[in-house]
């Protein structure tokens, strides 16, 4: 899997990511709502939905001139899954123990945003973890998992009995003839069929193990600027920490909130700190390729002499037109005093492409 991912990354960075996807047949991925991408402002929304954790994820965002090479990239890793996945049992993953949530939900991200016109490059680093990840799965999913577990238990008992009493196979094992034993068991499994296999397939083949209930994520990020594209002129321009959470229902409706402390070092103006508070509504039916959301955030400067209070409100529509590609449209009003944009109108059409792997539990 890691070799495939690396191949895809290299192909993607070379501009051939459409082709790479066809060849690598990677699975569905979410838009790049990584903390680092949020800090650089190319995440489609400021308030992230607690989402599936991917071992390794690379996101490429193209805004405006879609024929050009993308200039915004984000990379995210989940250390627990990437380096210690063998220790994550089904029981610990299905539960809601805070220590498991923190470790299994921990992600580290980095993002790059560059502007060829004035050779201004920004890098961001982010860390995110889950404190609460929902009370469990929906009733339908719980029922299907219970049926699948029962079918797997019966399947295992039948298989264990058959292997245990297969004289030829046991003789090969006792004689240490491993190559012959491998060949024998391959034939055995080609012919092995349990009545429980159909039950397992029926319950698991399209299951989406989405958790419902209250979720809470803690996130922090930092942005480093490289004016003129010069490494020696680097400076930290922004840093922030935020808490986001909300309730995710069984019908694909989510209500989220976010509180955020942000400190801007002031590249073009005085340094200032702000407190953001906002909410987001998401409608994402499980079987649909469309996701619609709306969010509103109020920003209050913490120093009286700084910028006046401001707000941001956006509507986002996402259409997943390929398993790992989505078209996002954002429209609305941005905060006043955002120096990287002209005015405060947001009207952005973006294509997001992602490479990585994904599990269907969130």
């Amino acid at each position: 899997m890691k070799k495939i991912i690396l191949t895809c990354i290299l192909s993607g960075l070379a501009g051939g990511y459409l082709l790479a996807q066809d060849e690598c047949t990677l699975e569905l991925l979410a838009a790049p709502a990584t903390p680092a991408a949020t800090m650089l402002g190319f995440s489609p929304a400021e308030i992230d939905k607690p989402r599936d954790v991917s071992d390794f994820l690379v996101s490429v965002a193209n805004s405006g001139a879609l024929s050009q090479l993308p200039s915004n990239y984000a990379v995210e890793i989940a250390p627990a899954w990437l380096f210690a996945g063998n220790k994550i049992s089904y029981t610990s993953f299905s539960g809601n123990k805070v220590t498991d949530n923190i470790w299994q939900g921990l992600t580290l991200s980095a993002a790059v945003r560059s502007n060829d016109i004035d050779t201004f490059t920004q890098m961001a680093f982010g860390v995110k973890t889950s404190l609460l990840r929902g009370r469990g799965y929906s009733r339908d999913v719980v029922q299907r998992l219970a049926l699948a577990q029962a079918a797997l238990r019966d399947f295992t008992d039948t298989l264990n009995y058959r292997l245990k009493n297969d004289e030829r196979y046991n003789q090969l094992l006792d004689d240490g003839l491993n190559e012959e034993a491998e060949a024998y068991r391959k034939k055995f499994f080609n012919n092995f069929n349990s009545e429980k296999t159909e039950m397992l397939e029926e319950q698991l083949h399209d299951i989406r193990l989405t958790r419902t209930g209250f979720k809470l994520d803690l996130t922090a990020g930092i942005v480093q600027d490289f004016p003129g594209g010069r490494f020696e002129q680097r400076s930290v321009s922004r840093a922030g920490v935020w808490l986001s959470g909300g309730y995710e229902g069984e019908k694909g409706i989510s209500f989220l909130f976010m509180t955020r402390y942000l400190h801007s070092a002031g590249y073009l103006e005085e340094a200032y700190s702000t407190f953001d508070g906002g909410a987001r509504f998401i409608y994402a039916p499980a079987e649909s390729k469309f996701t619609a959301s709306g969010e509103a955030i109020y920003r209050k400067p913490l120093q009286s002499e700084a910028l006046p209070a401001s707000w941001r409100a956006t509507l986002n529509v996402e259409y997943k037109f390929r398993p790992a590609m989505s078209l996002n449209f954002s429209w609305g009003r941005n905060f006043d005093g955002v120096v990287t944009r002209n005015g405060n109108v947001i009207a952005v059409l973006s294509v997001f492409s992602s490479f990585g792997n994904k599990r269907k539990i969130s």
């Binding site: 220790k87 049992s89 083949h205 269907k360």
Partner: protein, 126 residues
Amino acid sequence: MATIPAPLINQKYPVRYDGSELTLKVHIGNGQMSEGRYYVRPNMKSPDTLNGQIESGKLIALGKDTDLHGQRLSILVTVAAANGKDTQVQFILSGGLNDFNFTLKTEAGNQGDVVVYEAYFRFTKS
């Protein structure tokens, strides 16, 4: 649904033969649904001297090496790929001359496939 055999582990496990306790621990990773069985017996015709179910991360006391010498430990773990396609199982056998600690990884073809892990250890004198 396909049944996918993971690579087979079949080898001797030298013991000290001094009454040391042998233990087994199996980690079934990636948050995947699984079932596991183990049994110990001298040969196919003999009844089991020990058997049971495997729970991920739970230590299983197999007994003294003097009692287990000459017998074979058989382990069967089935992993249903419900949480992505990646599956991995770590086998840790301790108390012998050297610990055996090995992780096998196998990718399922499709969600809902079952990956079958088998490991066999013949307890021998070193």
